[in-house]
Amino acid sequence: MSTPARNIAAVPEPAPAPRVSDEEALDLYYWMVLTRATEERALNLYRQGKLPGSYYTGRGQEAISVGMATPLRKGPDGDWLSPWIRDLGSYLVHGVPVWRMFAQFMGKAGSTTRGKDGNLHIGGREWNIPCQVSHMADMIPLTVGAALAYKQRGEDRVAVTSFGDGATSRGDFHEGLNIAAVLEVPAVFVAENNRWAYTTPISKQTKVTDLYKKALGYGIPAVEVDGNDVLAVYSAMVEAVAQCRAGRGPRFIECKTYRMAGHAAHDKYESYMPMELLAEWSDKDPLKRLEQSLLEERSIADGRLEKIRERVKDEVHEAVERADADGYADPAEAHQGVFAESADA
């Protein structure tokens, strides 16, 4: 007689959404507006030939980048946050000043890498943001390692990383999730299912297009949320982080969304992305949706939102000016820093 099949992991009941106050919602709005404005400005600079390399936007995914970072503790003794290439907003929320983002895109000395790396390969101990790499999924085991360190020392910190659907095809995704589950470490994995990995649609990436199911396969409690609803992402994140801090092991959040442009600015996505789908998702724009919710459901005066947009405009303008005025690192910098002199450096 065969052993009967057994359901070893199931989707947990969604926790009741925490009440998000008007002030918190306005804060989310500020960060999302700042994220979009920063990216739009950077894209313009790229098109004007003022940024070397290419430019990668996360347009349409701001709800995730901002929503996942907002519940985290900031600073060197705060939570580890390792965002991927679409999550510019996460860097801002977790503390990286806007002008240093532009300095990074320009390769200036004021970038967090002193010009040694580009785009969103940004990081530093002061924010507890490791510097992501180009290789998909590599930061997942690192994040598990940070979470392990917190667990070993009995600290109630969490380690968070995000990645796209393409990354779930790499071995480090599977090795990292599996180790996290077995060691029961306080790590939160945020999958941004934007349906595209460069030119490859998710149907050619995996047969299991609900990414949270992959996490369930490793015994990690997982939920899926509307990735274009910042309140949903934020609420799921608050819950996952609380579970982690309470020592209940890793959590996985799949955010369903859509990539609203090419892989990078040089990518002629019009040739392979169905335009009708783009139009459809354009109606679900996360910023528009939050704005609507603030104005209609929360009856917040448009003037307050306008004020936030004005403030962001000024901030971005000043940030670009400061980055522009910044110089390049001395070429001697290229020789420096291969090895650390001390573990504190």
């Binding site: 580890w80 967090t112 890498t113 040694k116 790396d117 390969h121 990081g123 530093g124 101990r125 490791p130 510097c131 790499v133 290789h135 590599d138 930061m139 997942i140 085991p141 690192l142 994040t143 598990v144 390692g145 940070a146 979470a147 392990l148 360190a149 917190y150 667990k151 070993q152 020392r153 380690a159 071995g171 480090d172 090795e175 990292g176 599996n178 180790i179 077995v182 060691l183 820093g337 291969v338 090895f339 650390a340 002199e341 001390s342 573990a343 504190d344 450096a345």
Partner: protein, 327 residues
């Protein structure tokens, strides 16, 4: 002072560092309850608990990646590859994350990846690899290759304390074949600094520059040469990165002849770099071409006669040294 095998010295180094520094922990396949495939982490879990001696899934890339994250988060991980060969699965994490993190953002990655290296034990193509040259080419990784029990102990402790990622190539042929009195103890143990080669035998007629398993063979060759009135100096590099150029150059400038020996295969091996440095910076002192003795440029075969054919033997070193002495 206890007499320890090379393997016992490694275990003692792990124990002593864990004893004085709560941040140090070991992780890898079967390292906990079992104490590792070779016993290098034996009883550490019983002494320090499951959070500091961690049995992991079979996932070398994951293991090294976790070590990088833990190291960046204030811990001092020592990750074990069950056999050095398996570090090929973790190559990406070492090269992509560990080696470049400090260069990019000035955030140190103090970790050690222990790699039981080398042949001579009938391990075949997947349990005999010498991996040091795989990592030597890339900036940002230190590479340590001890030849004696004293060095295995002292270099491992220094590697754990080093603020950088260290690939620690311990030669498994030496595990139980090399024995020495080793000054151990959490506080009194004798550390050996990284980046300092050792002149393990002084001589005047030629320099044999080597490391790891071929140090003992080279010393035996030096004995044989002495019987023929040839005085060979033997330099044990001990660490490949940092590379102690000065000790090597001083030796070659003195003897005028250089024989480079390693168990790793010839092409692209570390010996090529040593030869280039000698050619550039000691050219005027050379009385003969630089010679190399190394393994065949093939995978490592399994059957004992084939493996012997593959490995550089004492007789190979002796004949090359004798030729060089007569040049």
């Amino acid at each position: 002072m206890p007499e320890l095998t090379y393997l016992e010295a490694i275990r003692a180094a792990l124990h002593d560092e864990m004893e004085i520094d709560d941040r140090v922990f070991v992780m890898g396949e079967d390292v906990g309850r079992q104490g590792g495939a070779f016993g290098a982490t034996k009883e550490l879990q019983q002494r320090f608990g499951e959070l500091r001696s961690i049995d992991t899934p079979v996932a070398e890339s994951g293991i090294v990646g976790v070590a990088v994250g833990a190291a960046m988060s204030g811990q001092r991980p020592v990750a074990e590859m069950q056999f050095a060969d398996f570090v090929s699965c973790a190559f990406d994490q070492l090269i992509t994350c560990a080696a470049k993190m400090h260069y990019r953002i000035g955030w140190a990655v103090p970790m050690v990846v222990r790699c039981p290296n080398g042949g001579g034990v009938g391990g075949g193509p997947y349990h005999s690899e010498n991996v040091e040259a795989w990592f030597h080419h890339h900036a940002g990784l230190k590479i340590v290759c001890p030849a004696t029990a004293v060095d295995a102990y002292g270099l491992l402790r220094s590697a754990i304390r080093d603020p950088n990622p260290v690939v620690f190539c311990e030669h498994k042929f030496l595990y139980r074949r090399v024995k020495q009195d080793v000054a151990t103890g959490p506080r009194d143990g004798q550390l050996v600094p990284l980046g300092k080669a050792a002149v393990v035998r002084e001589g005047t007629d030629l320099s044999i520059i080597t490391y790891a398993s071929t140090v003992q063979l080279s010393l035996a060759v030096a004995d044989s040469l002495a019987a023929q009135d040839v005085s060979a100096e033997v330099v044990d590099l001990r660490t490949l990165v940092p590379f102690d150029r000065e000790t090597v150059l001083a030796s070659v400038r003195k003897t005028g002849k250089a024989l480079i020996v390693h168990e790793d295969n010839l092409t692209g091996g570390f010996g090529g770099e040593v030869a280039a440095v000698i050619a550039q910076d000691a050219f005027e002192h050379l009385d003969a071409p630089v010679r190399r003795v190394a393994a065949l440029d093939t995978p490592i075969p399994f059957a004992p006669p084939l493996e012997r054919e593959y490995l550089p033997l004492e007789s190979d070193i002796l004949s090359a040294a004798a030729d060089l002495a007569a040049y």
